[in-house]
Symmetry: C2
Subunit: 603 residues, 2 copies
């Protein structure tokens, strides 16, 4: 009987760590030899690691190394066939330095090299910076597999079908050309495709559409793990020629995933993160029901923290615990990703901090099992106050007319003293980094202190809006590795920074008093990012908030104007934000989205 | 007599500030009407402003606005012909959202639209993110000018001649096609081309080569001013058909620049920044003689500071003055760019600060005429020390094995207390931002404190290495708007952060003791950035430093390994650096160069 096992090697590479990537590939290859595998398919650019961004521009040695390890690898293949993603020099006399290539190794030698013809260059992708797009030659993309002929597609080449996408981004559709010209028996797509909210909707529907349209099985292998802000969820898979999903690998894990393209029965369909299936047919609208995305969000952030720490040699995290939602969620995620003993939470109360907040912080830490200490910042803020008053009086001699009547200076001293303590701990204890706890809603509003809560080596929730974070907190209490860690009080009290007293209420100023209701704010963000709507459009659209609240058009306008004004100024703050995981369908994480600080926002 | 005046409108737009850009264009148009101009050529994408980066992705309203202002502008043109750069929607059913286009306005209407066919997408350029490259049709690029036919080229389309560049970046050469197919009488290039070290060498030689090769006059109009990290130097120009420069506009200024393509006599050749002419034939090698680049460096940083402040509504700067070279140079540049009264220098001595340093800071401020105040940080650092000791003791209960034997914590408290004071001043006085004073050599080494000297809203010298900064300081003393501001002592004392005592010498630790000689370090950086050399190459090459010092191969190796080790770790710090002007031929400014933090550097 003919052997028809294909291994989709769903692995987690590290960029430029060629030897490590090679060793991972080799381990799977050895296993494959023992397990009667005919063909092993590795993800796109696997030997180099994805995404390289600009590192190969300045360090060509990395590319040389990935070539020499490819040669070593070829010698190990024997009678197993392999599709291996690697980075190739472009030796022709025009074009960019490199190709994003796939080597087809057969009978112990490289039989074919396939070069990516369509290069994603938007959002988190920047392949056109250093790769040359190759002309698509369909004959180069065919490999033999027993009596069948398989057609090979590299990632983005699959994302360009004008019978699926309303407006495909590129001039031609490589899959169409390949199928028409070569009549393959099935397709294999090698990818490095990051996770995003509702991307499963696109990916599944598109691959299924492709299989059905051409009446061909489609195999898809994706990498897993994280590089800085970008996370790959794995979920390699197979569709049969009717577009039915017949096999799917694990999510967010490396997987030794064996499939038989023509025999669905033996194959396993691993579950997606809970709720994601729901998105397959869900419309594009804002909702406060985030159920469909909470496990995916959790797993994405966990992967991101784990790989940022592990791959960079960081081991421990330290963060301020205010008893509020943001820091509680960050602590939760860190404890699950790094292990509770590697996380230290510090409560740093000032005179505005309530007893409730202190208790909430303590209880959270206890529930998580993380290290917890309390240190008042009174001495530091008082010393700063004295010093500040002294220097402000001096400067007032020359800049009196510019002195604010109601400055935020003393509010910020508290946030900055706290960050100073955290960076001090990072200096004092090895491989320990402080965590920036700002969430996406507040970053949009610039409602975060530079060198304060915005400061840290990593920002785990910078792409999670406040209303979603509430949902995530509840979800984690029920479903995370550690259960019920966030105290009930944290989930019900209205968010506030506890940096200032609201003169109108005599109580600490609440965030919604300073900004606008989060439910409204988060829908503005959603509409801007997903529909590119402007204020005038939004004024005319009915918000979810308006279904449960009376909202006058003038109040709505005031909030929209406040949004525009604050976002314009927030650009300046975004430019000095630490990296953090991209989670949502769109983000303001710099790895994905950069607008000039120097610009006049129109909204 | 026929009117043959062409106006190259060398202007400074602001991204997305369409109305302002329109008004600038209109002002020049009105002037042109009074001055017998036949054709006005504006820079590439002028109505939108360059570079938009991602802003048009999320705010299509900006593009709508630039279209409606283009229509308004057409109505103002009457019998003047105009080439106007603008952003156009791509309404076809494939491709990116927009085109980078030029409207040819003639007889009061848009006669032709030309779409850029080659999109730069490397270094500081990211046009392939949102623009569609259009097929190049030579017939669309011809306009009539009296009895002549002019061919229009958009910026990067000119940078692709395989008889000039060893390896052009794109598959075809639009200029060659245009000339061969249409036989124009002269060429006009509309550009938005940033300044870089030795770029004049490339630009001049390439345009001259082009004119000579095709025996055609070449006109080149460039924008001026800065957007965030990128600066455009202007220097619009004309070459005759022999490749001789016959006219050149001012550098780093808006210029109403009238030329007659066929009559050199009336035209003016404005000077380049001093020394830049020297680079036209200079080889690619490292030198400590920076004369050829100092005025350009100065003007680039001045433009960058001015436009970052003016266009963003910032008015004042505050910075720490240590008496060292970095802060002295920053203060100098700020005083020249913003006016001395808008700059406040604060001396913040600690117990390690020498009297000499305090005096140097004071003298510098006096020489510059900036505001100067002194505030000791003793109280703040002592309060921090107490608080830190308290929390460190607590944490040692759980993490004792991770506590460093020789931590940098208390060194950094000084730097962070200072930054805290500066951010406090920024909170207390309106439109005032703190300045990050780190230089390029120290950033490469990660020899800068997060939330300390690395912290600020803008980093003026982040792309100037230390040896070049010494040269710049001397140059500014002689040539800047304010003379002799940097005290002699600052120019001769060896750099040091004055944060710690060197136990070996009993004196404050010098930077070269902690790192390696700057002359050596700066050549390593230069070789890495300009030649992409690896450590092995460098070991075998003779450094400038080795011509004047005995350097054993083992010591050289130690320094190179230290470099590799420190650069790997510095990635983490670069990710949270504020923006600053790109000056050098290559930089680590994030607007130009990003490598994954999560990666294994090979060097």
């Amino acid at each position: 009987m003919q052997n028809d096992n294909i291994l989709l090697a769903q692995l987690n590479p590290t960029v430029a760590d060629i030897k490590n990537n090679y060793n991972k590939a080799l381990e799977y290859l050895k296993d494959a030899k023992n397990k009667n595998i005919k063909l092993v398919a590795y993800p796109e650019l696997f030997l180099l690691g994805y995404p390289p961004i600009d590192i190969i521009e300045r360090y060509p040695l990395i590319v040389e190394e990935n070539i020499s390890y490819l040669k070593k690898f070829v010698n190990q293949c024997n009678n197993i066939s392999v599709l291996m993603g690697f980075c190739e020099f472009n030796n022709s006399n025009r074009g960019k330095k490199y190709y994003n290539s796939v080597a087809y190794i057969n009978n112990g030698k490289i039989e074919k090299i396939m070069r990516k013809s369509i290069l994603p260059n938007y959002s988190e992708f920047s392949e056109a910076r250093y790769f040359q797009a190759a002309p698509f030659k369909s004959e180069d993309r065919i490999i033999k597999f027993n009596n069948y002929r398989a057609g090979v597609i590299i990632c983005e080449e699959n994302w360009n079908d004008d019978t699926f996408f309303e407006k495909p981004m590129y001039a031609f559709d490589p899959v169409e050309i390949l199928v028409n010209e070569q009549k393959p028996d099935f397709l294999i797509n090698l990818s490095a495709s990051p996770t995003r909210a509702k991307k499963e909707q696109l990916l599944n529907n598109m691959l299924s559409h492709c299989a059905k349209k051409y009446s061909l099985p489609v195999l898809y292998v994706n990498q897993t793990g994280s590089t800085d802000c970008i996370t790959f969820c794995g979920t390699s898979r197979v569709y049969d020629k009717n577009g039915e999903l017949i096999a799917r690998a694990k999510s967010y894990k490396e997987d030794f995933f064996v499939i038989k393209p023509y025999k669905s029965a033996q194959n396993i369909i691993e579950p997606l993160p809970n709720g994601v299936e729901k998105t397959l047919d869900s419309p594009k609208e804002f909702t406060l029901d985030y159920d469909w995305d909470l496990e995916r969000t959790y797993l994405t952030i966990i992967s991101s923290i784990k790989d940022y720490f592990n791959k960079n040699g960081f081991k421990r995290a330290v963060l301020g615990l205010s008893g509020g939602l943001d820091s509680s969620c960050c602590a939760y995620l860190l404890a699950c990703a790094l292990g509770a003993s590697n996380v230290t939470g510090v409560s740093m109360p000032s005179k505005i901090t309530s007893i409730q907040s202190k208790n909430d912080a303590k209880e959270l830490a206890k529930n998580l099992g993380i290290n917890f200490f309390e240190i008042p910042i009174k001495e530091m803020t008082e010393a700063s106050n004295d010093t500040f008053n002294n220097i402000f009086e001096q400067i007032t001699n020359v800049w009196s007319q510019y002195r604010y009547k109601e400055p935020l200076t003393f509010d910020n001293i508290q946030a900055r003293s706290r960050a100073m303590i955290l960076w001090g701990i990072s200096n004092e204890f090895s491989s320990t980094i402080p965590i920036a706890t700002s969430d996406k809603s507040e970053l949009y509003m610039g409602y975060a202190t530079i060198n304060g809560d915005m400061s840290g080596g990593f920002a785990p929730i910078c792409d999670v809006t406040k209303t979603k974070l509430f949902a995530l907190a509840r979800w984690m209490n029920k479903n995370a590795d550690i259960k019920n860690a966030i105290p009930r009080e944290v989930l019900i009290k209205p968010p506030g920074a506890e940096l200032a007293i609201n003169p109108k209420t005599g109580r600490p100023l609440l965030a919604e008093e300073a900004l606008m209701p989060y439910e409204f704010l988060d829908e503005v963000i959603w509409r801007l990012e997903n529909l590119q709507q402007k204020a005038d459009d939004m004024l005319n659209e009915k918000f979810l908030y308006e279904k449960t609240h009376n909202l006058s058009i003038s109040q709505k306008k005031i909030w929209l104007e406040k949004f525009a004004h604050r976002v314009q100024f927030a650009q300046f703050k975004w430019s000095i934000m630490p990296p953090g995981p991209i989670v949502d369908s769109h983000s303001i994480v710099r790895a994905e989205y950069v607008q000039p600080i120097t610009s006049k926002l129109k909204f």
